[in-house]
């Protein structure tokens, strides 16, 4: 489970200032860490999902996600931008904290999918959101997320 989120998958203080920029940052991290073999495909996949309906949540959180062939192993990539970006979120606030879920098309095992859904559930929990927001290092944030996804579902 730990492999899904690692400090290397996280970029705090990213400079992206547009949706395209955020997707590109996510895709670059994915390729650099061997999660996906095509940055372009990841960007396209995220964009396609976004067009269906916004992944914006609230208080600046968004969960762009996609499931494409080019993703080779499931991962959670986190990008936190310096500036807020319009994401059509529920509360109308711009998004700056992006928890991106990348899933291989061939993902057969349900374990990883369950971990990702656990992360989605965790986002509803205000304490966990606060903890994520206040984390100052990649290592700290990776730890918080890792705990959130291995949390027992009640």
């Amino acid at each position: 489970m730990k492999q899904m989120i690692q400090p290397e998958f996280i970029k705090l203080q990213a400079t992206a200032s547009s949706q395209q920029g955020v997707f590109q940052t996510i895709a670059d991290i994915a390729v650099a860490n061997g999660i996906a073999n095509s940055a372009e495909a990841v960007v396209e996949g995220l964009k396609a999902r976004e067009e269906e309906s916004t992944t914006g949540f609230q208080e600046g959180f968004a969960i762009p996600h996609t499931q494409v062939d080019e993703v080779k192993k499931p991962a959670i990539i986190i990008v936190r931008t310096e500036t807020g970006i319009e994401w059509e979120s529920f509360d109308g606030k711009p998004a700056f904290f992006f928890l991106s879920l990348l899933i291989p098309k061939s993902e057969a095992g349900t374990t990883h999918l369950q971990a990702l859904s656990a992360l989605s559930r965790a986002l509803i929990n205000e304490e966990i959101r606060q903890a994520m927001l206040t984390a100052t290092t990649e290592i700290e944030l990776a730890h918080i997320v890792s705990q959130a996804i291995s949390r027992e579902d009640d």
Binding site: R49, E52, S53, T55, F57, Q58, I63, H65, Q67, F90, L101, I103, T110, L113, Q114, L116, S117, A118, S120, R121, A122, L123, I124, N125
Partner: protein, 475 residues
């Protein structure tokens, strides 16, 4: 007081994130409001935390927060709040409150057979929410019929109109105006036109009872159209057909599952068509009888006074637009024409031209309150009206006949009354404005039609405006 119990189902197309966020949000909200909740998630992994029939039975209400099918048939008879998944995430407490306050409407699945069986019955799985608003349901069925009928009216009507450009008698091989191409246009156009009522009936029934309904509705519509019962007969046939199938589904519910295939391919069509025939035949006879009686009556009124005559002719032509009443007036006009009475037909023609003009002017004068599709159809009505094709107004009237028909009847009556007062003479039984060169008092005739049409258009436009505003407030 015992703790209230709610069940919920969440789902989104990708099934990765929002499904679970909504589930979590609902659970948190339930905890806060001290309500017991069980949330079933339709994620990519499949259905998790599935609701058992026992859960559903015990629940005080159901929340569906999904952008995909979550097999809602199971919730037949329960109070259900049905919203997009985003609402489940954003305002879970409001949704739960709706159930607690008893504001949630009761959900009806028309073909309820108990959980787990829906998949085998997708052919007959016509589900619809009544929301306690049966008028809305009827409107929805009607609209399904109208939207499928519209292309037939436009396609057929325009081709017939074009054929008239070659001359009013261009399709008659015995007449000197005969033109082979025009005859072809009129033939195919007429074919499209003749399918109008059957298609209307078929898709009203389809909306009610899916494919088995459509088959029966189509036959019912054909019976109505061939029997001369017009579009009112078609609407009747559509609803009867739809509910015949619903009834059959209920009656055949207890047949073994192995016969499901046989039901949709054999039992429903055979029994359904038989039943619609039995029911429609006796309904058509009085309508046709009424039709003939009216013709006799009309001929006698002709000599009394033009005001009364105009009123009657206008109301008849506008009442069913191409149906038996309209045709009764029209045929009377034609018969009187043959006897050398050119006055009567002028009023009939004016009253037949007015309805499509009312629609066309209304869509031009009040474009805001019509959809794009309707505005396009409205423009076509200028052509249809100019060529005496009343049927162009039907799709608009069928949407809400109770309000629109009286407006059209009024507009038609004004046109007919003025025509009679001006003593206009029209020698041709069809063709609309294409026969203007042979009309005595052509200017007064067009004026009469325009006045009637504009009055009708104004009223109809104002009605649409009011309807649109009302909708806005409700929505």
């Amino acid at each position: 007081m015992a703790k209230k119990k709610i069940v919920a189902a969440t789902g989104c197309p990708t099934g990765i994130a929002h499904t679970f966020m909504a589930a979590e949000a609902l659970q948190k909200a339930a905890e806060k409001l001290n309500v017991e909740i069980k949330v079933e998630t339709h994620g990519q992994v499949g259905i998790e935390n599935a609701l058992t029939p026992q859960d559903i039975k015990e629940a005080d209400g159901v929340i569906i927060a999904a952008d995909k099918d979550v097999q809602a048939d199971r919730f037949h008879g329960k109070s259900v709040v049905d919203v997009p998944v985003a609402k489940g995430i954003r305002e879970p407490e409001t949704l739960i409150q709706q159930i607690l306050n008893g504001q949630a409407p009761v959900y009806y699945a028309s073909d309820y057979k108990g959980s787990g069986e829906q998949d085998a019955n997708n052919v007959e799985g016509a589900t619809h929410h009544t929301n306690g608003k049966w008028i809305h349901t009827i409107y929805k069925h009607l609209m399904n019929g109208v939207s499928h009928m519209l292309p037939f009216v436009v396609g057929g009507g325009v081709l017939i109109a074009v054929s008239f450009l070659f001359g009013i008698y261009s399709a008659d091989p015995k007449h000197e105006q005969y033109n082979e191409f025009a005859a072809l246009l009129k033939e195919v156009g007429g074919l499209g036109f003749s399918l109008m009522v059957p298609i209307l009936a078929a898709f009203i029934a389809e909306s009610i009872a899916k494919r088995p309904g459509m088959v029966v509705g189509f036959i019912g519509g054909l019976l109505a159209s061939q029997g001369g019962a017009g579009f009112l007969g078609g609407i009747l046939a559509g609803f009867i057909a739809g509910y015949i199938i619903i009834l059959l589904q209920k009656l055949l519910k207890n047949l073994p599952r192995s016969l499901d295939g046989l039901k949709s391919i054999f039992l429903y069509p055979v029994l359904g068509i038989f039943l619609i025939g039995i029911i429609m035949k006796p309904i058509i006879i009085p309508v046709t009888g009424l039709n003939e009686g009216l013709m006799d009556f009309l001929a006698s009124v002709q000599s009394t006074n033009p005001l009364l005559l105009g009123l009657i002719v206008g109301a008849m032509c506008g009442f069913d637009m191409g149906g038996p009443f309209n045709k009764a007036a029209y045929v009377t006009g034609t018969l009187l024409l043959a006897e050398g009475n050119l006055y009567f037909m002028a009023g009939v023609s004016a009253a037949c031209i007015a309805p499509p003009f009312i629609i066309a002017f209304a869509t031009v004068m009040f474009p805001k309150y019509f959809s794009k599709e309707e505005r396009n159809a409205g423009a076509v009505n200028f052509i249809l009206g100019s060529t005496h094709i009343t049927e162009g107004a039907i799709p608009f009237a069928a949407k809400n006949p109770i309000v629109v028909l009286p407006i059209i009847m009024l507009g038609s009556s004004i046109a007919a009354i003025m025509t009679y007062l001006f003593k206009v003479q029209v020698p041709a039984p069809h063709g609309g404005f294409l026969v203007l060169p042979v009309v005595t008092g052509a200017f007064q005739w067009v004026l009469s039609i325009l006045v009637g049409s504009l009055v009708g258009a104004l009223l109809y436009g104002m009605y649409r405006k009011k309807a649109a505003q009302k909708k806005k407030i409700e929505g």
